[in-house]
């Protein structure tokens, strides 16, 4: 009994039940809040990962598109070079026209060697992007292209146009570009990504097992 003659125990139970009701409500809100936060975080994370992967993929694709453009440019320089009726060794009485052609040819020779080295510099990176099944064909096409580009009578022209050669370098450039694009497209396919993932996991598993 309290001072006013009321039932204290009953009052306490009532308060307790109010507190209890309020606590459960708060916990529910916290759970809802945490669930929403978790969902938002997962959404943000997956969106971030997908955006990152897409940006990375786009960046890589851009690099190889530019690489293919450079193959075409190299082929064009080379075709122009092989079509010049230039002479590498001029006689003492060479005409002004012959001298001008030689200078033009030497300019193209320098450009061809420069762009060839640029293409070769990126090959190690490119080869990592190409599926193993496509790599052997790509390497043969690449070598054929370089042979057409700066092989044969390169730096050693005799004053005649080499039109067949000019056509061949365009053909070899087109084959090489097609194989680079095929390899890059293959890399972006889901099954290739899954296969690579499987290979990485298998290697890690093997390493763990051996250690």
């Amino acid at each position: 009994m309290d001072l006013n003659g009321g039932d204290t125990s009953r009052h306490i139970v009532s308060i307790t039940s109010d507190v209890s009701f309020g606590g459960s409500h708060t916990s529910g809100l916290i759970i809802v809040f945490l669930t929403a936060l978790l969902g938002a975080s997962l959404g943000f994370l997956s969106n971030f990962v997908l955006t990152y992967l897409k940006a990375r993929s786009d960046n890589s694709t851009n690099i190889w598109n530019k690489y293919c453009d450079s193959i075409t440019v190299a082929g064009n320089y080379s075709s122009e070079y092989w079509c010049l009726p230039m002479q590498s060794v001029l006689p003492g009485n060479a005409s002004e026209k012959a001298k001008a052609l030689k200078i033009q040819g030497q300019h193209l020779e320098a450009k061809i060697i420069g762009i060839q080295q640029y293409l070769i510099n990126l090959e190690a990176m490119l080869d990592k992007e190409i599926p193993d099944a496509d790599l052997a064909d790509l390497k043969v096409a690449r070598e054929d292209f370089y042979i057409s580009l700066s092989g044969g009578d390169f730096l050693e022209r005799n004053g005649q146009q080499a039109v067949e050669r000019a056509r061949k370098v365009q053909f070899d450039a087109a084959v090489y570009v097609a194989l680079v694009q095929k390899g890059i497209r293959e890399r972006l396919k889901t099954r290739t990504i899954l296969r690579r993932l499987g290979q990485v996991m298998a290697i890690r598993f093997a390493k763990r097992k051996s250690s």
């Binding site: 080295q117 090959e123 190690a124 690449r142 070598e143 042979i147 700066s150 044969g152 730096l155």
Partner: protein, 125 residues
């Protein structure tokens, strides 16, 4: 780590190195001597053939290091390496035993592949 091509044979004995960038030129020229300096023909005659003959008689091998130059015209490589079979009549089997073509950097790997391809596809003149 060396990136010598897979087809490059395992060679034994004392090595004789030819580092093209240091021993010959950083800017190799074209095919023949008549068209300008640092040609493939001159490289083959002055450096490659004497080293190879010495290696064949002394049971060593020659290691040609391609790195360090400002790009190779492919005509230079064909004349220097293909010319060993075509002009100097070296047997391909002998070259497999005594000639190693090395590209320490990936930037010269294709040149190494091409040089080896020219030896394999060359025919005696």
């Amino acid at each position: 780590m060396s990136n010598a091509i897979a087809e490059t044979p395992e060679v034994n004995g004392p090595a004789s190195y030819i580092k093209i960038a240091e021993d010959y030129s950083r800017t190799p020229g074209g095919r023949k001597k008549v068209t300008g300096p640092f040609s493939g023909e001159e490289f083959r005659e002055k450096l490659l053939v004497p080293h190879l003959k010495s290696a064949l008689s002394g049971h060593g091998y020659v290691n040609v290091v391609l790195d360090g130059v400002a790009g190779y015209p492919v005509s230079f490589l064909e004349e220097a390496f293909g010319g060993l079979v075509r002009v100097d009549h070296f047997a391909k089997a002998d070259l497999n035993n005594v000639l190693k073509i090395t590209a320490n950097s990936g930037r010269f790997q294709t040149y190494s592949d091409l040089a080896r391809r020219f030896i394999e596809t060359a025919e005696n003149e």
